[in-house]
């Protein structure tokens, strides 16, 4: 029992370190999309590990923590995807270091081919 508690505490510690690294990425990354990547992936993993660690630490709460984890894993990528899409269509620029932008290439291709499609 004591070993399970210790394992849960260590898992929660690793999770909160991931939370801190995600927050540091939000502060340090050069543009919005990189910030979003750091802030979504790292904090999602961090919250999964934190909640599972607390569920292991206090075993009667394990399934409630598990439901919370399942909800976060489902909704967190959705909200960040909607946010990234909104930011891209609003025209927030990428950092000059970025190499390619497939979404804007896709849009310009669609605009080029649109009149032909109407003729056909």
């Amino acid at each position: 029992m004591e070993t399970v508690k210790l394992a849960g505490a260590i898992v929660a510690l690793i999770g909160s370190i991931f939370l801190f690294l995600g927050a540091l990425g939000i502060l340090r990354m050069p543009d919005l999309y990189n910030r979003m990547q750091a802030g979504t992936k790292a904090t999602t993993l961090g919250s999964i590990l934190t909640m599972l660690g607390i569920g292991l630490f206090h075993l009667p709460w394990f399934w409630q923590a598990f439901i919370l984890v399942a909800f976060l894993v489902t909704t967190n990528p959705l909200s960040s995807h909607a946010l990234a899409r909104a930011a891209h269509f609003k025209g927030i620029p990428l950092t000059p270091k970025s190499i390619e932008d497939k979404l804007s290439e896709d849009q310009t291709e669609k605009e080029d081919t649109m009149p032909e499609a109407e003729i056909l």
Partner: protein
């Protein structure tokens, strides 16, 4: 031993709130602030679960669940507003 590690984990999560809060204040555009807010709500959901452990009351787990739902809906609403669909 395990309790001490849990306290250290809670302190690190609080530092994460502080660091993401700096970006929330600085952020040049509204979308930057929304990204910081998104991360802040996820970190605070974890912190509420820590508070549930610290006080020993199960009700805070339900509070964390409702908080996660409301933050998801809030970020989706702000994203739709930024896109111009609202």
């Amino acid at each position: 031993m395990a309790e001490t590690i849990m306290h250290v984990a809670m302190i690190i999560a609080m530092l994460a709130v502080l660091v993401a809060g700096i970006r929330f204040v600085l952020g040049p555009s509204a979308a930057d602030r929304t990204v910081a807010l998104d991360a802040l709500t996820i970190i605070s959901t974890s912190l509420i679960v820590f508070i549930a452990l610290y006080t020993g009351r199960t009700i805070y787990l339900d509070v964390a669940m409702v908080y996660a739902i409301l933050s998801f809906v809030g970020v989706i609403a702000v994203a739709r507003y930024l896109e111009g669909g609202l």
